[in-house]
Amino acid sequence: MRLFRWLLICVSLILAVILADLCRAQAAPRKPGELVWTIGYDPKTFDPAKVDDQESELVRYLTAGVLLRFNRLSQKVEPRLAESWGLSSDGRTVTFKLRPGLEFSDGSNLTANDVAWSIRRVLLKDTGAPVAEEFVSPGEVTVDSPDAGTVIVHLPKRVIGIGKVFDEIAIEPADRPSEGRVTAGPFVVAEYRRSQFVRLRANPHYAVADGAALPYASGIRLDVLENPEQEVRLFERGQYDFIAGIPPDYFELLKQKDPASVRDLGPSLNTEQMWFNQAPSAPIPAWEKSWFQSRGFRLAVSQAIHRADLARIAYLGHATPAYDFISPANEEWYDHQISAPHTDVAAAKATLARAGFRVNGVALQDSAGHLVKFSILTNSGNAARMKMATLIQQDLGALGMQVNVVALDFPALIERLMHTQDYEACLLGLENVDPDPNAMMNIWLSSSPNHQWDPSEKAPATSWEAEIDRAMDRQATTMSHAERKEAVDRVQQIVADEQPFIYLVYPNVLLAVSPHLKGVEPAVLEPTIAWNVEDLRLDGQR
């Protein structure tokens, strides 16, 4: 009977899936005192100088001994291997005084020589360290170690937020780079099984804190797992100690079962935004370009979008409506005075009418009679973006705009954004790791290839883009913090007025934390929970 065969196939498939799930859902056994959580993919490298991806960066954060650490909670730079540090008045000389009696994890002494060697290694072109770029011209930086406890770094030009740069430079034994096996940080890499886990063990010679033998945990296992479904299940069984960045629907699921196990820290530094393609060379009709280059058009779109609905429906309430590229979580730089267009459909219609658009029946037309019809591109596989796009589709439909939502796989999307520029509008997110707006230079400078709405402009296409360029330059060169703040505020206001990016929401930082995990002080900045990894410990541990 064919019918039975069908059913048989269905049933056996389901069984196979369940079985496969059960097999995979076996995490490795936990060692005593070991913390366990997951990483989404295999770290690309364990060499701290070559880190370029998020998971490698996490391993570096957990293992590397650094001169200075950027405190993710207070958002201040704190000395670590350095006992103290100072910046000369011209901002071009950084002097570090090392703590006395520092040792690497193998027991050997850590001296200024090792520090100077590690910094020079990062600066060397051959190393190819991504962090070198933060020195602006790394080739001209020189490093001296006048005595065993002092290191002096000479910069050719002042670098904004130079202290934070040293948060990313691991100090390694001179001439003995070990890919994290010998470190001066809280942990060292002990074992790596491809696509299974990375195991770290505590550094017995870690002596940064005074008194207490830190870290508390005897080790860490980072399981490679990218399936949120399984991650949540294993978390519930106590196999994982926390989940950083849990999707909103799973957050709700866990919340229903145990409200104490989840935390919503409010808006993250990340933004979700949409923008229109304003590139003059884009292979789209000229009249569409003129819409997209029209401030009124962009403003009307921004006014028509119900951001509260996006946050409530697409993120189940775990996002915050966004009108600015700087998140309110970024207290130092967020401009509370900014005046941004808010949701107002009537105002949006008026704005469109002023810009020469008119409604014919239910459809919107431009002054030349072209139907206003365009597509919003987003990446496939991101449920929240897809929902936002569909909601926006209806919001803009209320203005008479006919919107297509197209989901493409990431490579195809990037191809269109970066190379062919064959798209009309795009909805994507931006992850901000660094709260300092200087890190967003590459987005705001009109000459940058990452200036998404019109990349790599030869000269600023509009006066407001020219003004953004000037303001960004000013914040990067001025010595005065107040002037920097003023320049960044100005950029925020221009962006709110011109809407080159139409900001939609700040996704909230969502965490799940086991009640057995102690010492948790979650921060909005990455790594949200592991930032104070020295203090994390399981119940019953000292």
Partner: protein, 263 residues
Amino acid sequence: MKINRSIAALLFGLALIASAVVLAPGASYSRQERDATFAAASRQHMAGTDELGRDRLVRVSAAFLLSLAGAIMASALTTAAAAGVGTLAAFGPASVGWLAMLVCDVFLALPWLFLLMMVRSALPLTTSPANSAAITFLVLAALGWPACARAVYRGALHLKSAEWMLHARASGLRSAQIVRHAIPNFFPLLLPQFLVCIPAFVIAEANLGALGLGVGEPLPSWGGMLLELDNSAMLMQTRWVYFPVALLIVVLLLLDAIAVEVE
């Protein structure tokens, strides 16, 4: 093989009900009632609403009609193409047959999912949801014929060595006469192919939709609805999310049962 009329009637009845639901005054598969997301079943929304507050019953009905119509058309195309290629391969010179089957094998070996993604990303972005749905099914048809053609080829080879053909030649019939009389013999060969392809395409579209390819928003598709089942968090919200799957299984079983073997 012939059509089981009562099951065909049942399926047709389902299609009629679905059409009535979709065409009912006030019904809309895309209207978002944003204050009533994941609503429970009520008089207004008989199967509740989805995560964007859209009527689930209307969406499932529309998806059912779209998938069925698309799959039937794609299946007809595939079967026609397969009939052409399979017959040509079987009755043409041996080299043509060899070549045609080689092409089939190459097609079968193609990473079709990758191909579909390429086609999808090469489409103009302004392609309307309806057109993209049509193109999706066309592409499915274009990729589906080789398996079908192989079956037709085997059947046609069998036919080629059939006793009646030899007897027809022995009676001095012209080749044209023989071919003309061979055609009705293909129907029992093609009908099962046609009927088998329909559920296959329905499933293929559902798979594509589950990957975010396939039919574009706000047009509902079975695949898009199956996406809802992807996470257990969603399943907690309402049992109605199982409704599209349940209907899909019923329709697949009906489609499967519609072709019954005689004897």
